[in-house]
Point group: C2
Chain length 517, copies 2
Amino acid sequence: MASLNEEYPPEFSDERSLALVSDIIDWQINHGSLLKHMDPETRFPDDSPQCYPVGITIFPTLFPREHFDRACELQTIYNELYCAMAEDERWIFEAIRDLIPVDPLAAALWGIHEEVKKVGYRQRVSVGIFRSDYMLDGPGVEFPLRPGENFAGSLKQVEFNTFSCAGATHANKAVDMHRYFARTNAYDPGDDRLINVALAALPHNNTIASLSACLAAAHDAYQPRKGQVATETAVLFVVQPNNFNIADERPLEYALWNHDPPIPAYRVDYPNDFLQYTTLTESRVLLFHPPWLGSKCVEISVAYMRAGYEAHEYDTTGREARLRIELSMAIKCPSLLAHICTFKKVQCALTTPGALEHFISPAKAALIRSTFVSMYPLDDSEVGSHARHLATDPELSQNYILKPSLEGGGHNIFGEDIPGFLAAIPQSQWSAYILMERIRSPSVFNVLLSSSGLDSGGVISELGIFGTCLWRDGTEERPCEMLQNSVGGWSFKTKHEEVNEMSVVKGYGCFDTPLLF
Amino acid sequence: MASLNEEYPPEFSDERSLALVSDIIDWQINHGSLLKHMDPETRFPDDSPQCYPVGITIFPTLFPREHFDRACELQTIYNELYCAMAEDERWIFEAIRDLIPVDPLAAALWGIHEEVKKVGYRQRVSVGIFRSDYMLDGPGVEFPLRPGENFAGSLKQVEFNTFSCAGATHANKAVDMHRYFARTNAYDPGDDRLINVALAALPHNNTIASLSACLAAAHDAYQPRKGQVATETAVLFVVQPNNFNIADERPLEYALWNHDPPIPAYRVDYPNDFLQYTTLTESRVLLFHPPWLGSKCVEISVAYMRAGYEAHEYDTTGREARLRIELSMAIKCPSLLAHICTFKKVQCALTTPGALEHFISPAKAALIRSTFVSMYPLDDSEVGSHARHLATDPELSQNYILKPSLEGGGHNIFGEDIPGFLAAIPQSQWSAYILMERIRSPSVFNVLLSSSGLDSGGVISELGIFGTCLWRDGTEERPCEMLQNSVGGWSFKTKHEEVNEMSVVKGYGCFDTPLLF
């Protein structure tokens, strides 16, 4: 009996492939699976605003069901872990102490934290929309597997994102699309093969519903002061100006307005418009009153951050804006300390012996640790010294990635490039980086469709699991109280096996759906 | 007390207007309210397929409720009328007899009809997706109306479309969009004014659901022969190649697949791909077997025509393709004779005394006739002679439009241009045209948003009412049996008052929603 791996994806004639591509593009245009075109010079929309389909795979990509399920199961433990971390200021400070002098973003955020502490945080509840990213690790494994053979590798975490996690909407639409084409027999090879059974069981994904439900729960948890000044309470999306990725953010706003009862949701550009159109009352209620709402003054229940993840956003204006958010009564998505937990340096600290057990039970810690690869600081410690040796050796460095504490892809240094890169920067800067073991995913065949055309060949995928949670700071005894803790769906992104980066919106990969086997 | 007319639309600051425009564009991108960008030279999609928002009004446009309701009420009578006309071959032939020698499309269609008649039509049931277009006629009326004053004008028909009626999906999305902005208070002037009450009552429009339900009903009415060759029965969308308006067509396909139970829907380019990928069985079952469906062979229940409305589509290949459709067992949307009823010449014949009463009751005929303006043929009859006088006089012609029998806008000659136009063509060609009284709509204020930017000023609107129906040919006594007869929703298009044409996809207007008063 043939295995699914051997017969998937089906081989189509050129004519059939082109027809499918045309159908896919039309589906994307009709369902907002798009990016907004921004002029590359100004990053402003053209006079005639245009958009184009976001990168997507033609076929769903094979992924072992066991590891998909495992990643989902781990998410509520990861949520619990990161909420507990976010309430442990001392532990976080120890983790990033060396980073602050060399990383402007860490310095800015910690500075704002200290500023807020002088008067005290005003809101005890926080909300988290997290995403834990994984890849399959199986250096020796080759697809297709032989009949009866199981995938022998393991699931390893690439990074944990606590701030401004993107891709949820695109992922939701990708699976909707692949499911549509599966239902309409567009992938059907024409006989009764395993493919059809597998395609009929594409996993469900409701990220738009679950992320908006999480924001709605936070909105409900907020105790409005309205009646004093404001006549309405609303969720505020704090966004980057001239955003080309509005198709990822906007559907969450629409979902809140479509909530029963409707939850008002507005958006504001960070930091300038935010500073101009908000004020803090004496009791630190955050009021929003932009000219486009006429005479209306809105009390902000939840500040949902989709901006402020890059160092350059923290000039004087940016700091002032973020400070106002953090000082306010509004529930933050996420809290400032939860934001800092997204730093690689913090995640590196988490791999040290006993760190996980500081926050969660030994049983849970063991489950989480099984997803870790080796991570090292490049500092003066014994571990750091070992790491420096690995990183500066042309041979040994090939198994590692050098990562700064920045969000998203595009900043990492891979393998053989590491020694040269480190040699070119002052040693005092080295502590801004961590060294992480490379994950070696087995490649499978697929066809990628992006604005640069069609590209078929070996691909590897990254599975992101969204976590949604609501927590309250606690006491010395029980520092963090989970109010809600859920799996919020997933994203699945696939890139050519020879490309190091993974960032669909930057053109390095495609949204995808796992075909579980 | 102020009237709604006086205070609408609200005057917004530049800042508020720009914020609203940005929100509108994002909404359109997220909801497929788009056109596909085609290279103007080749009309093929660019390498990187792009799309842009379809023209839309910033605010819903004022329209008198009485006339909106009236137009909806008339639609089932119009459906009945046109189905009856479509079953009266002799009457249609009389109406277009003079057109055939001068109009290649009329000649092609009638030729195909005669060809089919030799062996006989094989399907007795037909389906219609019609659209009756109206404008307000009120030459002396000026908006805003004074408080307490009612709109004194009347509702006049611009044309009746029986073939390949477009705009249903865009219209559905336009009202969804305006309703979204009304719900989210984007139009709220900030105090308790009539505007908010009116906006809360924007009329509902479910054209996607009703048009797809009509196709589904036709599919159900078809008696499949499957089991012999085909394993599946499906609706076939017969479309133009390289179509930039896929966002108007595709959602109907998606709706059929989402129907419970799913109704397979495929599309094929007319005429080349159609000819290549279909065959007629001996019993004239229409089979569809394109390479992209693998080894599958599909029996076509309904041929939904979204191509074949232009004369150039009837070269040898085009004629052969249409002939195959008409010969087949498939239910046609619409039948060939119903297609011919879309000709202005036919609609002109309908305005002659007694013509309506030939098809419908005197009471219904009176209702329909009240929507007619004067229409004249330019032939040798007494009426034609009068029309030639009107059309060639520089003064008198100003109140008329010269219309060929072609579908859609872009071919009409307006007012003072008529005498010169007629003088430049041979008199033998004149009978291809009809002369129609101009409708003078009162203008109202609105802001139009299209790919060429923002344009505010006086605008006039065209209301299209969709009719969906299913009918069977009958006996001499009762030539047409209505199986279904419904109002299928509406479209509402608005253009600058100084622009003559109305064609949103060609850039002459915007989709809109009526704000009823």
